[in-house]
Amino acid sequence: MADFRSDFKNELDRLKISDIENVKTVIKIRAAGDKSCAGHFGFKPILAAALAVILMFTAGFGIFSSLKRFYVPQRGILSEYPYELYAMNNGIFIGGGYIDAILRTYADDGKSIMSIYAVYERTEDARNIPEIRIEYENGIVLDSSDREKCYGRRNAAGYAIYNFTDVPDSNSFVITIDDESTDIELTEIDQSEYGITDVVSIDGTEIMLYPLPGGGNTFAVFADYVGKAELLDDLGLKDIGEYNAVVDWLDCTAYDDIGNEYVIALENNDAGGDGHGNTVNNRFVIFTRASQNMVKYSSREEAENAPVVPVEDKIVKNRIVRIEITNISLSYFFEKSDEAIPLCDIPNPALSDDIVPLEITVTDSDILKYRMISASFENGEAVVEYESLSGDEAYVQLNIGVSRETAMSSGRNITADGKKYIHFALKNEEVKTIPLYLESVSIQYDTFAEIKYK
C-alpha cells in the first residue's frame, strides 16, 4: 500500500501546474472583471479592466501564458467576447484536412486570438496534424510550434484548431504548411447574413430556414460555436445530442416543446468536388421529424414546396417522461405536455446554501424520506444519491437515463423508443437495475418526489 501511495504521489507531483503567482493574477483579473466582485475590491469596472492590463504588463509573459486559456474561444467562452468570422480566398489542404475559415476573437484588452480550424474526413488524419507557420507583411511570424503563442486542441471527431495569440491586425498573410506556401486574403463575413430569412411549413409546423452563405467550412465554424445554439433557440427546440461535425457539419437530435423529435443536419454538398462542399449556394439546413423521415432539399425552393412529413405516432406514444427537479435542476426528459425542459442542467450543489431534506414517494409503496447527497450526470445518466433519514437503509442511488451502452455509443442521445432505466437500491449498496418504461417522474425538490412506472 505504501508503494502505491508514494508512487501515486510522485507521479501526481510531476503534473505540470501553472506558476502560482501567475494564477493569483489571473484569478484577480477574472474576479475584478466581475461587477459583483468589483464591489468587494472597491474597484469600478473600468479600473478593474485597467488593472488587468497593468497586471499583464507588469507580470510579464508568464501571466499571458496562464491567461491564454482564459482567452481561448472555446466551450462557451466565445460568446463572452466579440468575434469576427473570416472567409479565406484560398482553401488549404492540411494533412488530409482542409482549412478555409478563421475566427478572430477579441479579449477584454483588445488583443485578439485567431482560430484556424482544420477539418478532417478521417479522425486518424487529425491525429497527425502538421505545424503551420504564418508570416505577415510586416515580418511578424506566428508559428504553431511555439506553444506559448499557439494553443491548439485536436478534436477526436476530426478537426483541429490552432489558436494563435497576439495576432497582428492584418488580413493578409502567407501560410506555410509542409514547405508549401499560400497567399491568404481574409474577407470578413457579414454575420447578419446568418439571420433567419425564410419560414417553411412542414406538417403544419413552421420551421425557419437558414441560408448558408460563405465558403466551405465557414458554417461549420459558425455552427459549432454559435449557430447551433441560436438556431435551436430560435426554433424553440432543445438539443439533446452530440452532433457529428465531420460528416454533416451539423447533425443533432432536437425536440420541440411538445415532444416532437427533429433531426437537424446541414447538407454538405460536394459541388466543389473537394469533399468539403467548397461552394456557396447549395447547402441548406435540413429539418425532419425523426431520422427515418430524413428529407433533404437541394434548393430553398424545394424546401419551401416540400411535402408534409408525417409524425410517427409511436415516437409520441412512447415519449416518456417528465423528470423535473426544481431548484436543484437535475435533469429533464420530455413528455406530451406544454412544459418541456432542457435536458440536464445541474447546478453546483456545493454552491447552494444547504442540502434540504427530500421526500420520495414511490407509487404503491411507503413514503421514504431521504436527503439528497449528490447529483451528477455521467455517461448519459442522471445520478442522484440519497441517504435515508427515516430508517436503516444505507442509501438510494437513482440513476435516470439511457443504459450505459447506449450512452457510450451515442453521447447523451436519448433513444427514441422511450425505454429508460432506473437503477434503484434500497438497504443495499449494490445498485439494482430495473429496466422499465418510465411513465413519469416528478421530483419536487424540497417537497416530494413521485415516481410512476409500469
Binding site: E11, R14, K16, I17, I346, I373, A394, Y395, E429
Partner: protein, 164 residues
C-alpha cells in the same frame, strides 16, 4: 471579512490548495488545461460568492466539492468536446525527471476507475484524508466512499498486479 482580509485569505488558500485542487480536477477530467480551468473557476467563484466558507478547513472541503462539481459541469457541457492536446503526448502534461520518459503507471491505472472512485483514491492516498473527511468534503455518504475505495483497491490490484 473585509476586502483586504479576503484577498489575504484567498491568496493563502491559493498557495496552499491550488495545486491539490487542480490535481483533484485532473482526476475527473484527465486533462491538465481543463483541470486548471476548473480550479480557477472555483477560486473565482470563491472570490465573487456572497457566502463563502470562513475557515480554512471549511474552505478546503468547499473547494474540493466545488471543483468536482465544476469538473462534472465541464464534462457534461454541450460545448465540451472529447479533445486532446495538439501535442498529443500525454507525458507532456508531466514534468519529466532527468529529461527521461517517466512512468505514470499508477495514474494511468487510477484513470481507468470510475470517476467517483478516482476522486476517493486521490483524496485518500494523495491528500491523506480519512473516509469521514472525504465524505464531508464531497458531500457523500461515508459508507459509499468506503465501498468506492474498496472497489477501487480491488480494481487497482488487478490492474497493477500488486496488493493495494
Amino acid at each position: 471579512v473585509i476586502d483586504h482580509d479576503l484577498n489575504d485569505f484567498i491568496e493563502k488558500l491559493l498557495e496552499k490548495h491550488y495545486a491539490a485542487i487542480v490535481r483533484c480536477a485532473y482526476m475527473r477530467l484527465g486533462n491538465i488545461h481543463d483541470a486548471e480551468d476548473a480550479a480557477q473557476d472555483v477560486f473565482v467563484s470563491l472570490m465573487t460568492a456572497k457566502k463563502r466558507p470562513l475557515t480554512e478547513e471549511h474552505a478546503k472541503a468547499w473547494l474540493i466539492r466545488s471543483v468536482i462539481n465544476r469538473s462534472v459541469d465541464i464534462i457534461r457541457s454541450r460545448k465540451y468536446r472529447d479533445t486532446l492536446e495538439l501535442n498529443e503526448e500525454i507525458d507532456e502534461a508531466y514534468t519529466s525527471i532527468d529529461g527521461g520518459l517517466d512512468s505514470t503507471v499508477t495514474i494511468d491505472a487510477v484513470m481507468m476507475l470510475p470517476p467517483k472512485q478516482r476522486e476517493a483514491v486521490f483524496l485518500y492516498y494523495y491528500e491523506d484524508m480519512s473516509i469521514a473527511e472525504i465524505a464531508k468534503a464531497t458531500g457523500r455518504n461515508a459508507v459509499t466512499v468506503g465501498s468506492d475505495l474498496r472497489r477501487a483497491r480491488k480494481k487497482l490490484s488487478e490492474i497493477l498486479k500488486e496488493e493495494i
